[in-house]
Symmetry: D2
Amino acid sequence: MAFQLPVYHHPDFSALGLDDAPNVRWGTVEQNGVIPEGFHSTSMYPEYFKIDGNWKLAASSRMDACIVLRDDGTLHVVTGRHLKQGDLVALGRSEDGSEGIYVHTDGFEDPTASNGEKFSFRQGRSRETAYTRDYDDLIELLQYERDHGFIEWVMGPAFAFDADSRHAMQRLVEEGYAHALSGGNALATHDLEGAMFHTALGQDIRTQQSMPNGHYNHLDTINRVRRSGSIAQFVDDYDLHDGIMYACVKKSIPFLLAGSIRDDGPLPETIADVYESQHQIRVLARKATTVICMATMLHTIATGNITPSYHVDEDGTVRPVYIYAVDASEFVVNKLHDRGSLSAKTIVTNVQDFIFIVAKGLGVL
Amino acid sequence: MAFQLPVYHHPDFSALGLDDAPNVRWGTVEQNGVIPEGFHSTSMYPEYFKIDGNWKLAASSRMDACIVLRDDGTLHVVTGRHLKQGDLVALGRSEDGSEGIYVHTDGFEDPTASNGEKFSFRQGRSRETAYTRDYDDLIELLQYERDHGFIEWVMGPAFAFDADSRHAMQRLVEEGYAHALSGGNALATHDLEGAMFHTALGQDIRTQQSMPNGHYNHLDTINRVRRSGSIAQFVDDYDLHDGIMYACVKKSIPFLLAGSIRDDGPLPETIADVYESQHQIRVLARKATTVICMATMLHTIATGNITPSYHVDEDGTVRPVYIYAVDASEFVVNKLHDRGSLSAKTIVTNVQDFIFIVAKGLGVL
Amino acid sequence: MAFQLPVYHHPDFSALGLDDAPNVRWGTVEQNGVIPEGFHSTSMYPEYFKIDGNWKLAASSRMDACIVLRDDGTLHVVTGRHLKQGDLVALGRSEDGSEGIYVHTDGFEDPTASNGEKFSFRQGRSRETAYTRDYDDLIELLQYERDHGFIEWVMGPAFAFDADSRHAMQRLVEEGYAHALSGGNALATHDLEGAMFHTALGQDIRTQQSMPNGHYNHLDTINRVRRSGSIAQFVDDYDLHDGIMYACVKKSIPFLLAGSIRDDGPLPETIADVYESQHQIRVLARKATTVICMATMLHTIATGNITPSYHVDEDGTVRPVYIYAVDASEFVVNKLHDRGSLSAKTIVTNVQDFIFIVAKGLGVL
Amino acid sequence: MAFQLPVYHHPDFSALGLDDAPNVRWGTVEQNGVIPEGFHSTSMYPEYFKIDGNWKLAASSRMDACIVLRDDGTLHVVTGRHLKQGDLVALGRSEDGSEGIYVHTDGFEDPTASNGEKFSFRQGRSRETAYTRDYDDLIELLQYERDHGFIEWVMGPAFAFDADSRHAMQRLVEEGYAHALSGGNALATHDLEGAMFHTALGQDIRTQQSMPNGHYNHLDTINRVRRSGSIAQFVDDYDLHDGIMYACVKKSIPFLLAGSIRDDGPLPETIADVYESQHQIRVLARKATTVICMATMLHTIATGNITPSYHVDEDGTVRPVYIYAVDASEFVVNKLHDRGSLSAKTIVTNVQDFIFIVAKGLGVL
């Protein structure tokens, strides 16, 4: 059964008794990067602000940002540290419209759905949960998004450790199922080590056999990429022909490598400033329609905080953004559990097996 | 590449300097179920006992049992509680032959293997380990064992919760990849609930949708099996046609259901006495050549303690017994980690994904 | 601040609109251990049954049992397998009174409590949850229950592995903070090994140093207890003077040792039949007013299923039964999470540290 | 028993047969931040380099760095990215002296220690390990290091969530048991939220009660610190008087806040550039003699990679650096498991309980 986008319902403000709600109030930024007291903090849900008597939807919301009103009447979702002196920032801490701010949490819900279904969606998910339908749904979703959406993969380094999962991810990129990749320095390092030495941290990625002096492999890889000056140049210099980064280079898929304090190197493309990394994650989040976070608590939470639950297309259509968190640990996936029923799914498994099953299901292996 | 059984090497007692080792000493049991002080406790490795100047191998050893010498000169591995007054029990607490007892831990090791390989086998395994080769090896092994060995599956209830993994397991049984199943009352209960109601604990096994009053489904299932008098009769009475227990009934594959203190019911076949269950697990362990333990710490440890690392065929050939422990938790699989390098493998993943990948690899899906 | 028992409020059936509710229907058992179709299955909450126009509370409910009406008009909560031919069993599968069955889930809730509080109680709990208040509450509760209640400790074997936690538990028993212990064969075995050899599985319980041939220690311990014939006799025969079992023997605190398929031995007191063990757990559950389950998924779930959320004192007063689940794994404690807000608490930590802090807080160390 | 520093034994190069070992070779850096091929990569152990016939110890080694020889004959441990054109870098990939490089892994080992002890030290550690001796040892160590060493605490945010553990940490700082703190933006944010609002992420840190609109508390806290311009100024501006950061400010204990991609804010002191953070962690690592990493995989690994296993005092004395990793997850602590037996300890528990027990043991509560 092919995937069907759910229809978005704008709030009926009259039915909500909000015809007489006041306009939202605005405060002025006095100091760069400091928000006026009483500011409104955004959620990942669609939010409406009453301005001159009209309710206006802010596009591309995220957790914990501000709403800025520009002179041209447009609304912008801006992080506190990016505020400039003189910016107008929405004030108010209620979400029910009584201060001119309305947070719309159930715009994609089907009013005909039974309560039983809602309940089951909100239950905890663990290693014992049945994921058959989740795999089926995800495969249908990816088939749709490949041509009509923007699929972002957020990845921990584990993928590069294992020949089969590394190959599965390469094939997904090659076959169009990735519009962007987001990860850290280690993901690219170990993947490129695999391309150059067929190892990850010195162990053969197929047999797990430790190579003599194999712990030098990732250091030699990093050092050579630094000498080449870029990953693309390195792939060319050493005539590499497999792996995740190779596929991104070949298919011109953008990848975002956020630096971390545990990095070796780093690789030339890795971003040293975490707030610049966060900004680039946000740039992707504004485009993404499906985000799959795998085996990285840090990137999963960073991305989850920044990604809206909805996307406003150029023609004004509002559609959901689907977020998946896949991890071997219940603790990690539960960190995303309260994003609401429709948009976030969690799967507790080894990500190597996950990606293999997804790639098989999509027929790319 | 097809699977090759490793060759077993008996110890060279002369080369070990054991030509003058004493005969093993024996003590006499004075009270049923109580062992003489100073008894020798067995391991899962092949053990040799010097009797009348000859070293004799005990077949089918296990952890923490006694060696009994019968009047006909045969050696038997007997649990302490099964000892009878008058039994002769081997005494001695060294394993190097100096008391006539020699434990042979490396009979299957290839003396030409490099140290590097050995080291890599003994490293810790986690969710980040590369399992590509393990899957490849396991699939080759199962193809061999299907016709030449005895494959025992030890299963927690999680398999029955998910439509795909339940079907994968059914197919493995139907296609000859299971010679016995071992689990608990819950595995059979939830699998039969799936056959009767398409649910597990009231949730649809494909969609996870909670059925109205679905928490009654497993109680009704148990109650009806109890009325039918047996699982086979229940399958017939209600004309069921899918699932793991259904496949076992249809293919006459023996299943062992050990009772536990958390059981509802129980089902008629469930064994109430844990030491009788342990005995039946031991009966299977004497036959098994490959044992795959999935998602059950209790049964994994119980089986691991009882299963030898080697099997003596009727013609006297000694071959390894392969044990796998598959679980989402490193904590669980590490409980089996010290069974020695050749015979025990651990895989950290969601068992639903594991069984799906194995079944795909064997071509039964 | 001293602990205060919350007041129980019976349902107001008139206010619930149940004045015209029908009497509950009854079915007759036709075959021992088989329940009539359409039976009502109990919960751990107080349940009321309308008989001859009056609503009657069943005492000591539990999950998944039946309600039997005896000739003398009394109600009994009976497991399906204990039903006898001719027993009258309550029928009906709604819980709102419409079939004469009313399940009262909020009898202990304070109607003046704010919604905010309720919400916070129901949130997931993890290793990052703040437990300061839980420790404070638990210590106040134990001080109260020591003299006015019945405290049952349900324990995995981990306590016996560590000198400090083993001593803390011994002190709690000695000072009156335990009215019963429930665990498995391994708990008693390792504790007694500690008393005889100062080791657990051969490692010194204070220094972790492995003793030469220490793996024999638990086997020798078991064997000697079996020779002595009972734990009490063994403590006397070998003049032991520390540990958890020693304290129970000295203070005549009952202990329940349920057998499992992974047992060595077993010890003489260990119960081989799991359904007899379950029955004995149920006997304790009828008495218990506070139950603390630590580091054992099997016993925690078994006990949780069987323990009511309320206790009816001899004078008819209804009070809550408090259940705690303490474990290092979120997965385990979450298994108990849906027992309702007031009665079940979960704490994610190492149980050795937990018991040390509790014993310190109670001033027994 | 008071803590005793183990004695360090330099290698006996003659006894090792290394009298005729060659001098180490050197390569010249041709491009800033790019290492010559064949470079030697350092470990955390003491390493000796043969120069002009003499073996010379490099101070303050770390994982995966280079050895640079300055014109004055001194050796420096330098990260690849900090190399400058013209630097001389040690070449060679053997560690046994045969290329003039000797890695000394057992300088602190007592040659009289038995093998049994060594083996027990290297066993895996889990939630079931006995930690009694570890607590005793750690408390003695901290008593010694308070006056004679440099204690660094590496902390995840969990400490600030709980009133008791936050207070315990405050007391340790106040009583001289911390010479530096290292963590992230979230630790300081939630701790300061606790000082200002008595909440963490909006929940009361003692009662867990959710405050109305409490999710604004951490945003308001961050915003106000940004307005104040520094944490110290914020503490002063709002007259705060409790918590971890408060104690650091009051006692002038340096704290290092490394930024991450999941940060809100950030606070003014938080370092945005991860490689500058890594450098500051390294500056601390050169001073530290005991490092305790708690509940943060990212910082634990980052710190572990960078911290030597030994410290060379100003008078040339070589002493061990003790590293502890404390976490609720075996997976996290095992990441540090192979740093060698003497210097690294792992404890699996909830860090809130850990710090409470440590503070109690040191008598500061």
